[in-house]
């Protein structure tokens, strides 16, 4: 039950690999923070530095008010759940959960109380006398969670705890971990490469790329206001579409021109662009599939925003159209009631209030 603070934290391996660059982060008590990014982005390294399993090359790490750079993992009052569970195979599940408490010389009665309590929370009372190898993946994951819960730590660390579970169980356990967080009222730090997990569980998300923090924000803000092209593309599924083009300023609006048409940007976004002083004329426009409407008006050759359907993916509640607009390949999400088939020509109608604009070189957003 404590906050966490990372000040200019770096990790440089002896072989020169710079895994984590100048991370600054203020995690408040009781937050559920998710580190997300593609593999090799340094998210696990960052977590392991917080756990004390990796040395911090430079910078400072505080848990609560104490700087813990040189504090060993056992004295940091943290608990960690590992990707492959890391249960001790020769101990029963009860012993697995009690191990950390025994090492701290906590009285037997208290250990028993805590283990039973954790077992109640996780619904694993029946499994306590078994050994880990007798359990399914999902059950093992619960034991691993239980082992962390009984410790009653200041900070819960989780390193991709769901990635070894099958898809259905993953969704279920996701919700359970969220519930657990609400119940335990402790700081959680969770590492995943899956943006869905990050978006559904985190109160705040740290997006990392190649060791750099790209953005730290709430799920809604990441989705609505990505700071850069990487965050835009990483958050949301299917990915945001990107189109290269140029901006043209008009009296009260801005028009984006690209190879086969244009999009008028009005209102707030146009104001913001003007306010930021039009850094560049060449831009990358980002638009999410769910923000592209389509018109089945069978456009003629040369009419603006005309696209041909290459693939359709029917998901029941929605349909994804993979379309080609001249040389650009885009994805649009449409209502399944709109009947279209491969080879049909349609007109794309992107929602101008939902576009994102990025600088072509720095890839930073021009709208923030």
């Amino acid at each position: 039950m404590a906050g966490l603070k990372l000040v200019n934290v770096n990790k440089i391996y002896p072989n020169g690999f710079h895994a984590v660059h100048d991370v600054n982060l203020d995690i408040e008590d009781n937050e559920f923070v998710v580190f997300v990014g593609p593999s090799g982005c340094g998210k696990s390294t960052a977590l392991r530095m917080i756990a004390g399993l990796e040395e911090i090359s430079s910078g400072e790490l505080y848990i609560g008010e104490t700087m813990v750079n040189d504090v060993s993992p056992k004295d940091r009052d943290i608990a960690m759940v590992f990707q492959n569970y890391a249960l001790y195979p020769h101990m029963t599940n009860y012993e697995n959960m009690a191990f950390g408490l025994k090492l701290r010389n906590i009285p037997k009665a208290e250990i028993d109380k805590r283990v039973q309590n954790a077992a109640d929370i996780l619904g694993i009372q029946e499994l306590l006398d078994n050994k880990p190898k007798e359990l399914s993946g999902g059950q093992r994951q619960r034991i691993a969670l239980g082992r962390a819960i009984v410790r009653d730590p200041q900070v819960f660390l989780m390193d991709e705890p769901l990635s070894n579970l099958d898809a259905k169980l993953r969704v279920q356990t996701r919700a359970e971990i969220s519930k657990l967080h609400q119940r335990l009222k402790t700081t959680f730090i969770y590492v995943t490469h899956d943006q869905t997990e990050a978006m559904t569980m985190g109160t705040r998300i740290v997006v990392l790329k190649a060791g750099h923090v790209m953005q730290v924000d709430t799920p809604t803000n990441l989705y609505e206001y990505p700071k850069n092209k990487f965050v835009g593309s990483f958050i949301g599924s299917p990915q945001m579409n990107f189109i290269e083009g140029t901006l043209e300023e008009k009296d009260d609006a801005v028009t984006f021109h690209y190879s086969s048409g244009s999009i008028d940007i009005t209102g707030e976004k146009a104001d913001k662009l003007k306010e930021n002083g039009f850094e560049t004329k060449e831009v990358i426009l980002g638009i999410r599939p769910e923000h592209i409407n389509v018109k089945t008006d069978e456009p003629t050759e040369g009419s603006p925003n005309r696209a041909v359907i290459e693939v359709t993916e029917l998901l029941g509640s929605e349909t994804y159209l993979f379309v080609k607009v001249k040389e650009e390949s885009l994805v649009a999400r449409i209502d399944p009631s709109i009947k279209v088939k491969v080879g049909d020509f349609i007109t794309l109608d992107p929602r101008p209030d939902k576009v994102h604009l990025f600088h072509p070189e720095s890839e930073k957003s021009l709208l923030l």
Partner: protein, 290 residues
């Protein structure tokens, strides 16, 4: 076609069991012959052709002769040798496993400079033939005035320790790192991690390597013969057997030697039977990911 296949199967199976039988006989016949000879009297041993079971030379009926066993247990040298061997082999095994598992933990799981050279140096230790170090060792022992039993225990480490270290290193390496990290976060010191997590998990390997170390120490002859030359009271059992003398000059007490050989083999067979399951687990563990 089907019939031909069936015939081929039968032929293959027959061939397989035939080869198995040959290997079986090849391995066990010497031991069988030792038991057979140990149950023969001097007269029975002289019979030509040699009989497959002890037979009465006159009546030709089966007639085992147990006196050999009685005699060897009345032989103070032999009994003393059994005790000495037990002390030496057990101490060697325990020390080799203790030191070997510590070394293997460091070599298998900890990061430090000069790990590879250390490993190869340990391996290199086993490359010298025993004879080459014998003279030097003898000089060292006499200079230091070490007790003979202790000198044997220490010198047996030359071949048991590198072996246990190498085998156990391979085992420790295969244990997932996450287990150690998990123990670390749980609050275990490196030593607690070692004996509460790693040691129980490497038990099969410990048993296997320990048993092999025990057998090597139990059967060792050259060092024992040399070091006990001035102290007959410290003779181990292989040396004691070699010093068996017959009742009359130049007589080789063959039956007694065979009886002693059988008696000496028994503890090893018993140990192997006790730890049978663990040995199989130990020999195959680490070969495939569990």
């Amino acid at each position: 076609m089907k019939q031909a296949k069936g015939f081929k199967n039968v032929a293959l199976k027959t061939g397989f069991y035939f080869i198995l039988l040959i290997i079986f006989i090849y391995l066990l016949f010497p031991f069988y012959w030792a038991i057979n000879s140990s149950l023969k009297s001097e007269a029975q041993l002289q019979m030509t052709p040699a009989t497959m079971v002890p037979k009465n030379p006159v009546t030709d009926s089966i007639d085992p002769y147990f006196t050999n066993y009685k005699v060897i247990f009345q032989n103070q040298q032999f009994v003393r040798g059994l005790i000495n061997s037990t002390i030496v082999a057990t101490s060697t095994t325990v020390l080799a496993l203790a030191a070997g598992s510590f070394a293997a933990f460091a070599l298998g799981k900890l990061r430090f400079r000069g790990k590879k050279p250390t490993l190869y140096m340990i391996l290199a230790m086993t490359m010298f033939p025993q004879v080459t170090v014998l003279a030097g060792l003898y000089a060292v022992i006499t200079t230091l005035q070490l007790p003979t039993l202790l000198s044997m225990i220490l010198s047996y480490m030359i071949f048991t320790l590198p072996f246990t270290t190498w085998v156990l290193t391979a085992f420790f390496k295969d244990l997932p790192l996450a287990l150690l990290e998990s123990a670390q976060v749980d609050g275990a010191t490196p030593f607690q991690t070692f004996y509460k997590i790693l040691l129980p998990l490497t038990a099969p390997a410990m048993v296997t390597t320990g048993l092999l170390a025990f057998i090597a120490a139990w059967n060792e002859y050259l060092f024992a013969l040399t070091f006990t030359s001035i102290n007959p009271g410290a003779r181990t059992v292989p040396v004691a057997i070699a010093y068996f003398t017959g009742a009359v000059a130049r007589q080789e007490p063959f039956g007694e030697i065979m009886a002693a050989a059988v008696v000496v083999t028994v503890p090893i067979v018993v140990l192997v039977l006790i730890f049978q399951k663990r040995i199989v687990a130990g020999l195959t563990a680490g070969a495939v990911k569990g």
